[in-house]
């Protein structure tokens, strides 16, 4: 190991402190006994108990998980197809435009995505009567749209770094194109698909802006509930909720990273 200088150590320490001090403070205060958010009153788990007794929050959390699960799954299917097209179609007219279109939601301001989807849903309802009103269904569609972009990018990267002679080798050994995808291609990009799913799941769970635009009455997701609660003043209950969410998201991101690493190790050999 190379020895690092004091300067480097200090810089790294300060950087991480800046990034994570607020989160650590939040986690610590979620175990606060005191009712006042800013005053430390000793350790306690009572806000977690209160949290689980709060039906509104629990319902919102369950709804969020349901939406995240469905939209992550849909995004994986559509995103894999898009990534496949982008990496395997070879050069074709408008490839740049298509790949630009697919990745645009990554950089598009969420407000604009949300607003445009809302306008689309309203227009569709006016013309075809579908989707009738806004609610869980429209949130799922909206989340699928932007999560799909992430999956497409991840899958495309995986596919273009994959040795195409692997597919030729499979054909040479008697695999017909129909079984080729499931025998060779899919297992090889599976880690990318899994990490894409995990990423989509956490993105959907986190999203506040887009969901606020396209949800209807009685269909508040967890971030929406937290946001509305915070507007009335921060309660220690929200700290507990935020801590749990951080834990879930961290687990998702770590799992996604682990998948990617495992796959890189395998593919690079």
């Amino acid at each position: 190991m190379k020895r690092r200088s004091l300067f480097l150590n200090t810089t790294a320490g300060l950087g991480f402190l800046f990034l994570y001090a607020p989160i650590i403070a939040l986690i610590i205060y979620s175990f606060n006994k005191s009712k006042l958010v800013t005053v430390w009153g000793g350790w306690s788990l009572k806000w977690y108990v209160e949290l689980f007794n709060n039906d509104q929050i629990i319902d919102a959390a369950l709804l969020s998980v349901k939406i995240a699960f469905i939209s992550a799954t849909l995004a994986v299917v559509l995103g894999t197809m898009a990534g496949f097209v982008l990496s395997r179609f070879g050069p074709f007219r408008g490839k740049m435009v298509l790949s630009g279109w697919i990745t645009a939601p990554l950089v598009m301001p969420e407000v604009i995505t949300g607003l445009s989807l809302l306008l689309l849903f309203v227009a569709l309802e006016g013309m075809f009567g579908w989707p009738a009103g806004r609610g869980t269904g429209t949130i799922i569609i909206a989340h699928t749209t932007f999560c799909m972009a992430y999956v497409a990018v991840i899958v495309q990267a995986r596919l273009s770094s994959m040795d195409e002679t692997l597919e030729e080798a499979a054909m040479d050994l008697g695999a017909k194109p129909s079984s080729l995808f499931f025998l060779v291609t899919l297992p090889l990009i599976a880690p990318a698909i899994i990490s894409g799913w995990l990423l989509s799941f956490t993105l959907s769970l986190d999203d506040l802006v887009i969901a606020s635009f396209v949800s209807g009455p009685g269909n508040s997701t967890l971030p929406m509930v937290i946001f509305s609660k915070v507007r009335l003043g921060v309660t220690p209950e929200v700290n507990a909720l935020a801590t749990l969410m951080i834990a879930i998201v961290a687990i998702g991101v770590i799992a996604a990273m682990y998948q990617m690493r495992r796959q890189n190790r395998m593919m690079s050999s």
């Binding site: 054909m171 008697g174 695999a175």
Partner: protein
């Protein structure tokens, strides 16, 4: 070899080809009159847009041959191999394997397997599952698959590694897995794309001979693509030298080296000294060539077909040249020069000699003894000579 041998191959003695295939049949198939080729390539052309990768190649390869397609990058050798495997469709021409036209036959239906340059092992499958892949597609019974996989693993001496994943193997082991996987379906024809390219030198040498043994044992016809002339020389029963999409020469390794038919082949395989000159005497068993570059008359003891006063090149391999301080008795094929540089390589020493004409010549001398023998050093005045049967006249 006798000194009376000519370029006419039909009269060649059969002992030459006995090298790779011990005593099964004395005369190799490609020398037998009317022998049925196993693989026929008829006027194959492949174009990519305006670029012609393979230009009207016809080639016959016989059963149990280990045929090497040798050529530099872009010579079309890999394209030809991929057409045999079915990954590329010929623009025109026919490929017949064992008498069956391969037009329209998909890669997964061909009686051909390929070993890829990158080995293309499936990283998500174990070694045993990699090898079993081909058999599983055929729907062979489980017990049978298990038995044949173990047989293959034993053949390539990896019997104990069946449960490993490819990334846990060394380069040499992966190469063996790739070979086992391509052989398990008992293909009639095995295509090998630079089979030893990714191995280090020592491992290559061992593997070369192993490959020949396996080929002998299984009696599969091999077509090997390589850019490495040494690999081609050791492996092949015959070599097809390719350049710009054309096969320039097809012969046994010995003949490709000793009797190249063009300057390209002479220079591509091994190193060679070329002297430009004009034919001044052309008899059935003598050719004399006046060469300014050599600074004298060069004499060859076999006839060539050429016009009088045609400009030709005389090719002499570095190891065929004798080096000496004293003028040898022979007057012809004897040149004079000065040693510019030399490199001691252990088994032999390489000299760079500048002739009086100014041309630089490469000479190698084997180091028979440790200390005794004539010593040469920089600026020595030396005589270069060779026998009348050790040079070749090239007209193209």
């Amino acid at each position: 070899m006798t000194s009376s041998q000519t370029i006419d191959f039909s009269s060649k003695e059969t002992e030459v080809s006995g090298k790779d295939k011990p005593a099964t049949s004395s005369v190799p198939l490609w020398q037998q009159e009317g022998a049925e080729p196993f693989l026929r390539i008829e006027n194959i052309t492949k174009k990519f847009g305006d670029f012609t990768a393979v230009d009207n190649i016809s080639l016959n390869i016989y059963k149990n041959e280990l045929f090497c397609l040798l050529g530099g990058s872009g010579s079309g050798k890999s394209t030809l191999l991929r057409m045999l495997a079915g990954f590329e469709t010929p623009t025109s021409g026919r490929i017949l394997i064992d008498g069956v036209d391969m037009a329209g036959v998909q890669p997964w239906d061909r009686p051909v397997n390929m070993m890829f340059q990158s080995y293309a092992l499936f990283p998500h499958l174990t070694v045993a599952d990699n090898i079993a892949f081909g058999l599983k597609r055929e729907g062979v019974a489980k017990a049978e698959i298990k038995r044949r996989v173990q047989e293959m693993l034993d053949l390539v001496q990896l019997g104990h590694l069946g449960k490993r994943k490819p990334h846990q193997l060394s380069g040499g082991q992966r190469q063996r897995v790739a070979l086992a996987r391509s052989l398990i379906k008992r293909p009639k024809l095995l295509l090998l794309d630079e089979p030893l390219g990714a191995l280090d030198k020592k491992l290559r040498e061992e593997t070369q001979f192993e490959l020949i043994n396996i080929q002998d044992e299984l009696g599969v016809t091999f077509v090997v693509v390589t850019h490495d002339q040494e690999e081609a020389m050791t492996l092949a029963s015959r070599i097809g030298v390719m350049n710009h999409g054309v096969i320039v020469q097809t012969d046994e390794p010995h003949d490709v080296y000793e009797y190249p038919n063009s300057r390209f082949v002479a220079e591509f395989i091994g190193s060679v000294n070329l002297f430009e000159g004009v034919v001044i005497e052309d008899e059935p068993d003598t050719v004399r060539i006046q060469s300014e570059e050599a600074g004298g008359v060069l004499y060859i003891n076999h006839g060539i077909s050429c016009a009088p006063h045609q400009v030709v090149h005389v090719a002499v391999r570095p190891e065929k040249i004798r080096l000496g301080h004293e003028q040898p008795e022979q007057k012809e094929n004897c040149l004079h020069g000065r040693i510019m540089d030399f490199a001691y390589m252990g088994s032999l020493t390489v000299f760079k000699v500048r002739l009086d004409s100014g041309k630089e010549v490469r000479v190698t001398q084997p180091n028979f003894n440790r200390e005794v023998g004539e010593r040469f050093t920089w600026d020595d005045q030396v005589y270069l000579s060779w026998t009348e049967d050790s040079s070749v006249v090239l007209t193209s």
